[in-house]
Amino acid sequence: MNSIRIQTHDFNLAEEYQLLRELSPAVGAVVTFTGLVRDFELDSSIDSLTLQHYPGMTEKLLQEIVDQANQRWDLIAITLIHRVGELLPRDQIVFVGVASQHRVAAFEAAQFLMDYLKTKATFWKQVSQDGKQHWVESKDSDSTAAARWNTRGD
């Protein structure tokens, strides 16, 4: 019961939460993560953010990430939504929702999904700032965050 969507339009956290919550009476924990466009980048305000992706490949990679999470944790459902196209400051970019019986699985899976999405999924951000565009540089901290899932004992 997983849902993966790449879309230009906005999403509604309340609707996504209700879907996860109502899936099964065994749901004891729902964790959601929402990523938003901040108004600043490198100490200067931004005009907009454009999300490019690799259609076809992105869907495949997100499916792999969701499959891996389901293998590692006992989950009831995962929802993964990523917007593409032009976004404005304070817009929602990405949503991860995980429903499970117990909280630890939901928390860990949601973090894993975000860490992997950030480092594996074929999305690229371009910032428009002071009338100029530049591509966002990848962060070492994201690679470090993703790497921790390879070094754990479980």
Binding site: I93, L117, F123, Q126, W135, V136, E137
Partner: protein, 92 residues
């Protein structure tokens, strides 16, 4: 050098090219298809006309995919393959 040219002429695979993120900015004039037998050879062939692009493609963080699978630069290419050049991703 003569051998290399012969190598190119023997290649018959017509490859579809895609450049993402910052690589797209350097690849605006690159044709949509090319003939080559490996991703590494695509890079070599583009070097004459697009040296700035190829310099970017040679950065170690750049990955290459064939038909939407990450592969090595020496992966043999079949005709009609889709080869994409992928800088480090920055989604989420």
């Amino acid at each position: 050098m003569a051998n290399r040219v012969v190598g190119y002429q023997r290649t018959t695979a017509l490859i579809k090219l895609l450049f993402f993120g910052r690589l797209g900015d350097f690849a605006k004039q690159v044709p949509a298809t090319i003939q080559a037998s490996t991703p590494a050879e695509i890079r070599e062939r583009l070097n004459a006309d697009y040296p700035d692009l190829v310099k970017e493609l040679c950065q170690p963080q750049v990955l290459v995919s064939v038909n939407q699978m990450i592969v090595s630069w020496e992966q043999p290419l079949a005709a009609g393959s889709e080869v994409a050049f992928l800088p480090p991703v920055t989604g989420g």
